[in-house]
Each structure stands twice: as structure tokens, then as C-alpha cells.
């Protein structure tokens, strides 16, 4: 059984089919990239997979459970327990320090543990920046804090929407190295990107166009 399975999923805004009968399955431990032009429905798909939005039609099976018709409260619990989110705009709480931002995710999930949060920052190479506010961190560092926060509760799936969109080459490299590390440890990664270089390092790339899966490319040269 796949970790994640989308069956004939559509998201309809008025006349617009932002997603149009998309079917997709992702195995546990897989690293999938999603590409496509602007407006093709990538973020819409991420929202649905991440339990932040519900599809208009179709079913979404996460761990074998259909989450497409759950109420808001259940979806909140699913996000909390199973999903790790990484955003293009980082979205750190600007009045909390790096380590506190990581602890926020722990706080909603279970019990905040500063030591564990510091270890997560260590993994992304930011142990010495733990007490800095987001405004005192570079974009790349902020994104790494965001990754540490996404990892902290050992989610089933890590969803990243344009994680390198606001980063320079060097920082992009650092983030991709962290992804590689996560993949080696068995994490499931779904990464939306415009950048072919980011897509190339994944095992498989799915290309969306006008809300449909236009094609799927398996990366022959994938280095685990």
C-alpha cells in the first residue's frame, strides 16, 4: 500500500479546474518533485496533500485513510501528526528565536523539548544561531530553521513548496544536501519546484499542466 494515494482528485474554483482528475501515488521513503508552469495547480495539490484544503472531487488516502472528507478539526490533527511543511517564504514567527520557532511545532504536536529542538537545528547546521531572531538570520538560514521545524515531529511526509525559490545557489546546495540526508534516513519528500536542478535530484518528477499530470519522469541518474 502506498503512503499517499490521490484518486481522481479535482479542485474546482468556479469555472476553473485548478486540479483536474489527478491520480498519483507516492511510496514511503520516496522523493518526488512536482514541476509545472505558474498556475498549473502545484500549490493547490500541496494544500490538498498537506491536509490544508479539501478536494472538490476524488479521494486522498494518507496511510490508507481517506482524508478528503474529514472536518477541519480532524485535518488539523492530521497536519499536526503526519505532515512537515516547508515554504518558499520560510514563514517563521518573527518574534520567536530560531529554537523557539522549532519548539512551536513541538508545542502543538506534543511537549516542547528545547534539547531536541537544538539537535534539529544542529542537523541543519544552525546550532550556533539558535538564539537569533529570524530578522537576524539570512534567507538560507531561515529556510534551514523552517526545515528543522518540519522535521522535529518525525512526520510521515515532508512537503516543500518552492523551498529554494528565494535562495541563492550556495544555500540551494545546502538545502538539497539536507534533503538527501533526510531521504537516506527514510523520509518521504514531496518537493514543488520551478527549478530543474532541484527536480533533477529527486527520484521522480511529476509535471503538472492546467491541473493535469502532463508527464512523469523517472530520474535514471538518481544518487541516493
Amino acid at each position: 500500500m502506498s503512503l499517499l494515494q490521490l484518486n481522481q482528485v479535482s479542485k474546482i474554483y468556479g469555472d476553473l479546474r485548478a486540479l483536474d482528475k489527478v491520480s498519483l501515488s507516492v511510496e514511503k521513503g520516496e522523493w518526488v518533485a512536482i514541476m509545472g508552469p505558474s498556475g498549473s495547480g502545484k500549490s493547490t495539490m500541496m494544500n490538498i496533500i498537506g491536509a490544508m484544503d479539501k478536494p472538490s472531487e476524488g479521494e486522498v488516502l494518507l496511510d490508507g485513510r481517506d482524508i478528503s472528507k474529514e472536518n477541519a478539526k480532524t485535518l488539523t490533527n492530521i497536519r499536526r501528526d503526519k505532515i512537515g511543511l516547508i515554504f518558499q517564504q520560510f514563514h517563521l514567527v518573527n518574534y520567536l528565536t530560531a529554537v523557539e520557532n522549532v519548539m512551536v511545532a513541538q508545542y502543538y504536536h506534543s511537549i516542547p523539548d528545547e534539547k531536541e529542538a537544538l539537535n534539529a537545528l544542529e542537523r541543519v547546521g544552525l546550532r550556533d544561531r539558535a538564539k537569533h531572531l529570524p530578522s537576524q538570520l539570512s534567507g538560507g538560514e531561515q529556510q534551514r530553521v523552517c526545515i528543522a521545524r518540519a522535521l522535529i515531529n518525525y512526520p510521515e511526509v515532508i512537503l516543500a513548496d518552492e523551498p529554494t525559490g528565494n535562495l541563492d545557489e550556495a544555500n540551494e546546495g545546502i538545502v538539497l544536501d539536507i534533503f538527501r540526508q533526510l531521504h537516506r534516513e527514510g523520509s518521504t519528500l514531496i518537493v514543488v519546484t520551478h527549478d530543474p536542478e532541484v527536480a533533477e535530484v529527486a527520484q521522480r518528477t511529476i509535471v503538472l499542466e492546467h491541473g493535469r499530470i502532463a508527464r512523469e519522469v523517472v530520474n535514471e541518474n538518481f544518487v541516493p
Partner: protein, 385 residues
């Protein structure tokens, strides 16, 4: 680390690290709390303040003999035991007799001169109050009639009633010399009298005599005054206590009007504070839409979001209340010294009450903005800026 600890860490961080924003909300609450606690202080202190003012207008209770010659000093002392000592701002026993000075009939009033001045603070005296035997305070009209002024002397002659006609056809009388120490100006009938100490009147007349009237200046509401009068009338048969209605009633009317005005202003201020805090919190919520979306994306329940914003609001409410109760006392003090020329008592109980009220008002004001915060969609965070 405990969850509560993290909760407080977040609330405190939000308040401290976003202090410029929070200061606006704090200011709104503190100003509301200041005016609130100031007005409440005045509300409760006004009766005392106004009472003191009204006491300036003189006696508001008088004691009269029930029968001819029935009231003496002992009866007055008995009556005074029915009024709390600290409420009596002046008590003046009066005994009136007629004497002659240069053959002019003049009324003398024997009294406790200190008590008389205390009961009638509006008296204007040129010179001094008599402080020793043989000294007199004379009314302004008496002074011009007899051509007397401060420092002058006169001889009082008194004819006892039973000795009106003597054996040899010559009127018997007793005389006593007096020195004028002060001239009294009241604008009233007192200007026609000569005021002597009770002891001097006794010495002049050779009789102990009885009191004709006792003037009392008492602090208290109309109800309290009525209760005192009833108690005296029930317990001391020699005399009758009456309220000077004109004074007590106008006192009560003015007080009621003033208090209802203060009450109204307080209510308006409370509503304005609430609107102000609600607007500020609404702005805070709007400004933090992304953060709320993010927290929800991380799995925060609506309840957690409400708790966090309420926590911030309540801390602000408590701080604003504390600040306001301190500033409010200053405000009340200022009003009191400017308007009533007297200082106000610090009401310790008002501090916790102000804090409680401003916490409650803030909570109420936050209700709507915080509710709207829970409507924010987590999907918001994946949308571009």
C-alpha cells in the same frame, strides 16, 4: 519543558519583542483604566468632599428645647452621643439674653466660641476670637450702633427678670466690663448680637441658665442625618432634633446629580476603551494573519489560537489595569485638589478591582477579533506574498 512554560514564553515573547505594537494597545487600556479608576475614586470620595464643602454653609441640624428651659449642657452632650464623633464638624450651644450697653438693649449669645466657628465656617471675623474671660466678639451692626471697634471696651448691664422693680423704684442691675477682640461679619442676623463665652454670660447674669438652641454641623447623607435625628428624639426627651431642610436637601440633590454624572461618564469611558482595545486587537490579528495561518498549518487547534491571543490580551489588560489604577489615583488627586481643594484618600481595594475590570473589558474586546482569527485558513501560508 512543560507546555505551559512554552505558552508563557510565546506570550511574553510576543509582548516584549513586538512592544511598539503592543504599546498602543497597552496605552488604550491604561488610559481607559486611568479614567475609570479616577472617576470611581471621585465617585466614592465626592460625598466626603462635597460634605466638607457643604459644611461650609453652616448648621444642618438644630436642637431645640422640648419645653421652656428644658435643655441644658447635659442634654446636649446626651444628644451628641447619638452621632458619630468624627461626623460632627461643629457643635455650638446658644443661650440668648438681653443686656443693655449705654442704655441700648442688645441681645447677647453665650456659646462655645470655637464650636460656633466650626459650625459656621463662613463667619468672617475681623480681629480675634475671644480667648479669655472679659472678651467679646461683636456683630458688625452692634459695632456701628455702639461705635465700637476691635480693642474698644464697653460695659454690659443685665437686669434679672425677677428684680425688675425694686423697693426704692431704682432698677437693680449687674454690670461687667468687656473688651472687643473681634467684629463679626456674616451678612445675617448674627451681626446684631454680641457673642460671649458661656462662662461670661453665667458670670454676668449670675444664673446657670439653659440653652435656647444648639446648632450642629454634621457630615452625612440625608438618610443618615434623619437617622441621627430620630435616635436623638427617641432617647433625649428634653430636646427635639430638627434638620435644616433647606441645607440637607440641596446637599442630597447636588450629590445625586454629581454621582450620576460621574457614573454616566464612567460607562461611556468603559465602552470607548472597549472599542479602542477591540480595534487595536483587530489590527493585531489582521497584521498577524500569516502567523495565524502558519500556526494552523503546524497543527494549532482553534482553541490554541484563542488561548494565545487571549493570553496576550489578558496580560495587556492586567498591565494596563495596574498602570491605570496608579495613574487614576493621580488623576483623581488632581481633580480633587483643583475642584475641591482637598486631597483624596488612596483606596487600596481599587487597584485589584481596576485590574479585574480592565482584564474583563479586554477579554470582552478581544472576543470578536480572536474569533475572526480562528477563521483564517491554513492554506494562506502557501499563497505568495
Amino acid at each position: 519543558m512543560k507546555r505551559q512554560k512554552m505558552y508563557f514564553r510565546m506570550v511574553v515573547a510576543s509582548l516584549i519583542r513586538r512592544r511598539s505594537r503592543m504599546l498602543v494597545a497597552l496605552l488604550a487600556i491604561a488610559i481607559g483604566a486611568t479614567i475609570l479608576s479616577g472617576l470611581v475614586t471621585i465617585y466614592y470620595d465626592v460625598p466626603r468632599q462635597m460634605g466638607a464643602q457643604f459644611r461650609g454653609y453652616g448648621a444642618n441640624m438644630i436642637l431645640l428645647p422640648q419645653e421652656e428651659n428644658s435643655m441644658d449642657m447635659a442634654a446636649m452632650e446626651a444628644a451628641l452621643t447619638h452621632i458619630p464623633a468624627e461626623s460632627v464638624s461643629g457643635a455650638a450651644p446658644y443661650r440668648y439674653e438681653t443686656i443693655r450697653v449705654n442704655e441700648q438693649p442688645i441681645i447677647i449669645a453665650g456659646t462655645d466660641l470655637q464650636g460656633a466657628v466650626a459650625a459656621s465656617p463662613y463667619w468672617m471675623i475681623t480681629g480675634e476670637l475671644p480667648s479669655a474671660s472679659g472678651q467679646a466678639l461683636i456683630g458688625k451692626e452692634v459695632a456701628s450702633l455702639l461705635g465700637l471697634s476691635v480693642g474698644a471696651s464697653f460695659t454690659a448691664s443685665y437686669t434679672p427678670a425677677q428684680a425688675e422693680t425694686s423697693e426704692n423704684g431704682v432698677t437693680q442691675y449687674q454690670t461687667m466690663p468687656f473688651e472687643v477682640t473681634g467684629v463679626l461679619d456674616t451678612g445675617g442676623s448674627e451681626e446684631q448680637y454680641i457673642f460671649l463665652s458661656s462662662q461670661d454670660v453665667e458670670a454676668l447674669t449670675g444664673e446657670e441658665g439653659t440653652l435656647d438652641v444648639v446648632q450642629l454641623s454634621v457630615n452625612g447623607s440625608q438618610q443618615e442625618l434623619e437617622a441621627y435625628a430620630d435616635a436623638i428624639n427617641g432617647a433625649v426627651p428634653q430636646l427635639a432634633a430638627r434638620l435644616v431642610k433647606r441645607v440637607t436637601q440641596s446637599e442630597t440633590t447636588v450629590l445625586t446629580k454629581l454621582q450620576s454624572l460621574v457614573f454616566l461618564v464612567t460607562a461611556v469611558v468603559l465602552v470607548l476603551t472597549m472599542v479602542c482595545v477591540a480595534t487595536t486587537m483587530m489590527a493585531v490579528v489582521t497584521e498577524r494573519r500569516k502567523e495565524i495561518g502558519l500556526r494552523k498549518a503546524l497543527g494549532a487547534s482553534n482553541q490554541s489560537i484563542i488561548m494565545e491571543f487571549m493570553g496576550e490580551g489578558l496580560v495587556l489588560g492586567a498591565l494596563g489595569g495596574l498602570l491605570g489604577s496608579v495613574l487614576g489615583f493621580g488623576f483623581a488627586q488632581l481633580v480633587s485638589t483643583r475642584v475641591f481643594n482637598s486631597s483624596i484618600r488612596f483606596q487600596g481595594l481599587l487597584v485589584p478591582i481596576t485590574i479585574l475590570v480592565s482584564v474583563a473589558v479586554t477579554a470582552l474586546a478581544c472576543l470578536l477579533p480572536v474569533r475572526s482569527a480562528t477563521d483564517i485558513e491554513p492554506a494562506l501560508v502557501l499563497k505568495g506574498e
